[in-house]
């Protein structure tokens, strides 16, 4: 199933921590899997569950949210909100037939380029193992409407 399969992953990275970790990985010339496509938000708290569902319904095989470590949020507590939303959304994903492991939330600070690399590599492999996400057309419509 996973033969020749190259997963597509949307990364929602917060401007102050994880996006900067990805910048640092770049300036440090670390190499990692090319599967994650980053959408920058100011805070992981801006990541609307609808955006995640939108990603899954438009071809994403996985979604990775990167925020600041607990207590380090640039906006005090947006990362906690992301945490709560993610936990709830995972339950909903199951109901749509989407494996909850396809949604991952990680705290990666601006200095943790190595961690960013490892998380991206590991998550890409994990999604490769899960195989492509096939949403039934009727479910897909429901996901879009959700």
């Amino acid at each position: 199933m996973s033969d020749g399969f190259n997963p597509l992953i949307v990364g929602f990275f917060c401007n102050w921590c994880t996006y900067l970790a990805a910048d640092l990985a770049g300036t440090s010339r670390m190499k990692y899997a090319p599967n994650v496509r980053v959408v920058r938000t100011m805070c992981s708290g801006r990541v609307d569950p609808q955006m995640i569902l939108w990603a899954f319904s438009h071809g994403a095989d996985g979604v990775l949210i990167g925020g600041c470590h607990p207590g380090d949020c640039h906006y005090q507590e947006g990362n906690y909100k992301a945490l709560r939303r993610t936990a709830l959304l995972r339950k909903m994903l199951t109901q749509f037939g989407i494996e909850p492991e396809r949604l991952r939330l990680e705290w990666i600070s601006a200095s943790e380029a190595e961690r960013l690399r490892d998380v991206v590599n590991e998550f890409s492999e994990q999604i490769r193992g899960l195989g492509p996400l096939h949403l039934r057309p009727d479910v897909r419509e429901e996901v879009v409407a959700a």
């Binding site: 597509l8 949307v10 102050w16 921590c17 996006y19 900067l20 990805a22 910048d23 990985a25 770049g26 300036t27 010339r29 670390m30 190499k31 990692y32 090319p34 496509r37 980053v38 959408v39 920058r40 938000t41 100011m42 805070c43 708290g45 801006r46 990541v47 609307d48 569950p49 955006m51 939108w54 990603a55 438009h58 071809g59 994403a60 207590g71 380090d72 640039h74 906006y75 005090q76 507590e77 947006g78 909100k81 939303r85 600070s109 601006a110 200095s111 943790e112 690399r117």
Partner: protein, 663 residues
């Protein structure tokens, strides 16, 4: 519909080669060609350096020629060049927020192995940006005034220099220092490398100027306890701990110290690292600023038993400066900018027990030796061992806690030089044979290599090798009663045993023990080692990711005095450039609430960490106060009806971007 109503959208896409940084991995030609076919794209080009003048001119010219009203540049991180290209867009006559930057360098070319995969990824990101920029709207940055007052945290040489620079330019400065005197580590040093200037001779005039400068409000025994607000308008709470002596009334005569019931110093003096003794009422050191003693309530008899004859109070007489009733006070300050100058701590050598620190009395840290060689130190400049003997042989061990996988991997930058300096001073003062044990000799500053030569000519021995351990286990009569250093001399290729009387551990610089708390207090980033993170290692070395907060000195990383002073000057200049401009432009990424769509569910009200949203009970809708909004977008993500929206991160923009990276 699009971001500017029904006016047709004309997008220009510009792919940067960045020399070979991008073009070496990403097929920039194919990327530009693929972008040319995307909806709305009128022109798509690639160019060697988009950020160069000719690169920017391309955008300006095309905008005029093709009537572009959206610009997408695919180059480096928005943290580097977003502002550059926003200005270009403005120069081309369009609103700067009708621009979007795609990061295909840090996030693509530099991190990819496979050129084909990198090109695919870059195509997806450019496609997303084109889809996103379609929904961009004209925005105006908010302007907020900048309070001219500056808070400087830490009164070492960095804080002092920044304070004096700002104050002489007429800016009000609050200098907060947690110790009883300013001066920091530099006040503890004897001489400074490579010129051998006496540290006190060059520092104390600056310390005195701090006291005399009317624009500087000095707060010692004080700590910042709370920070709120934002660039231009910070609100800061400072805790002031009691000195038990009124600074306004004290004249610094020191008679109270003389009259203390203790006739001799009894308690270890922090400033001398416990090598000297002080009384319960004491001056931290003779040149302390403010020149006011303090009372240590833990050791003062009056505090412990209330039965002291209080000779101090009696001799102070009418001046009445001694006040046992002082308590912790909190003051609130309003400042526009903040300079962090919180310094460093020295490495704790007990973490490396093989060197016997704390076990063998004649193993010292380099900072302790600074106090020993100092004429106003605990031994009045006499270098003697704990038993009063003069050392005949001294070993200086470099890299204790630096360049070591077990402790710190980084080089502390100053140890080679201060070890050379101590070697010179110790040889001069004692005539002892001095050995330096080093891994590599690092002397890369102005006049540093020359100083190294000079110390070589002094007759100091240099042995290349890291000392394995210090022992007292003598194996020959010559080693009896000595500290024996076991070391592999890597130039001779033999293991040697070198008996000495005194061992100096050249300890590393480390981030302050509470750097983590301070970092959180000020919302700063930190490197893995605990140093505060600068905004850009080369181009913004004193800025932080929190606008209006700047870094100076060793809180940002190990450095020597000249670099510290240079950085402090830079931080002061950055702060001044904000103050003198008088206002800051805030990123217009604030949220707003569409009244007609709001169902009045209250969800956003509780979400906002800045209480920027309140509920209008009459209209039954949520109302957002733009002045308080900081643009996190948490309310937008939570709003079930789509009434809350965020500029630059509108739902349409983000959804289009997500779709763009995927399809």
């Amino acid at each position: 519909m699009n971001g500017n109503g029904n006016k047709s959208v004309k997008i220009g896409v510009y792919v940067c080669h960045c020399g070979t940084n991008i073009a070496g991995k990403v097929d920039v030609k194919a990327l530009a060609e693929s972008a040319a076919g995307l909806p709305g794209v009128v022109v798509s080009r690639e160019y060697k350096y988009m950020c160069s003048d000719p690169g920017q001119d391309l955008i300006v010219k095309d905008t005029k020629q093709f009537g572009l009203n959206r610009i997408v540049v695919a180059s480096c991180s928005p943290h580097l060049h977003e502002l550059t290209f926003r200005k270009t867009t403005a120069n081309a006559g369009e609103n700067p927020y009708l621009f979007h930057l795609v990061n295909i360098r840090e996030h693509v070319s530099w991190v990819s192995d496979d050129p084909a995969a990198a090109t695919e990824k870059a195509k997806a990101l450019v496609k997303a940006a084109v889809a996103r920029v379609f929904w961009h709207q004209e925005l105006q940055p908010r302007r907020v005034p900048v309070n001219p007052s500056v808070l400087i945290v830490g009164g070492g040489i960095a804080g002092i220099h920044a304070a004096l620079t700002l104050a002489s330019a007429g800016k009000p400065v609050y200098l907060v220092e947690r110790k009883p005197s300013i001066g920091g580590h530099m006040a503890q040093f004897d001489k400074t490398f490579p010129t051998l200037d006496c540290a006190a001779c060059i520092l104390t005039p600056k310390m005195t100027s701090v006291k005399q400068q009317p624009n500087i409000h000095l707060m010692t025994l004080a700590e910042v306890s709370e920070v709120s607000g934002f660039v231009g308008n910070f609100k800061v709470k400072v805790k002031r701990y009691p000195r038990y002596i009124d600074e306004a009334k004290c004249v610094g005569c020191g008679e109270c110290i003389e009259m203390c019931v203790y006739k001799e110093g009894k308690y270890p003096n922090d400033f001398d690292l416990g090598l000297g003794k002080r009384k319960p009422i004491y001056m931290p050191f003779p040149q302390a600023v403010p020149p006011v003693p303090l009372i240590d309530p833990a050791t003062c008899i009056e505090f412990k038993s209330h039965k002291c004859p209080k000779g101090c109070v009696e001799v102070c007489g009418d001046r009445d400066a001694i006040d046992f009733s002082q308590t912790v006070k909190e003051v609130e300050l309003e400042v526009g900018t903040i300079i962090m100058a919180t310094g460093f701590k020295t490495f704790e050598p007990r973490r490396l027990p093989q060197y016997g620190y704390g076990k063998f009395p004649n193993v010292y840290t380099s900072l302790e030796v600074e106090r020993l060689v100092n004429a106003s130190g605990p031994t009045l400049g006499q270098v003697v061992l704990r038993d009063g003997r003069r050392p005949e042989a001294i070993g200086i061990l470099h890299c204790i806690g630096s360049r070591d996988e077990n402790t710190n991997r980084y080089c502390s930058r100053v140890c080679c030089m201060y070890s050379l300096k101590l070697a010179h001073l110790l040889k001069e003062k004692t005539g002892a044979h001095v050995y330096n044990f080093y891994i590599d000799m690092r002397t890369p500053g102005k006049g540093f290599e020359e100083f190294y030569k000079r110390v070589l000519e002094d007759g100091v021995s240099f042995i290349r090798g890291k000392v394995a351990g210090v022992t007292t286990w003598a194996q020959s009569p010559a080693e009896e009663g000595k500290l024996i250093l076991r070391v592999e001399d890597t130039l001779l290729g033999v293991v040697r045993r070198i008996p000495v009387d005194m061992v100096v551990l050249s300890v590393a610089m480390e981030a302050q023990a509470d750097a983590e708390n301070v970092r959180r207090l000020f919302n700063l980033g930190c490197s893995a080692e605990g140093w505060f993170l600068e905004r850009h290692p080369k181009l913004a070395p004193v800025d932080t990711f929190t606008d209006g907060i700047f870094l100076a000195g060793c809180c940002q990383g190990p450095k020597d005095i000249p670099d510290t002073v240079a950085q402090a000057g830079a931080a002061a200049a950055q702060s001044m450039s904000l103050i003198d401009k008088g206002y800051v432009e805030m990123e217009p990424n604030t949220a707003w609430i569409e009244e007609e769509l709001c169902s009045g569910c209250h969800v956003c009200v509780a979400m906002c960490p800045y209480t920027a949203i309140h509920f209008d009970a009459d209209k039954k809708v949520a109302v957002l106060n733009e002045a308080l909004c900081k643009g996190c977008g948490t309310c937008v993500a939570a709003c079930p009806s789509g009434a809350a929206q965020q500029n630059l991160f509108r739902d349409e923009q983000l959804f289009a971007e997500v779709e763009g990276v995927l399809v």
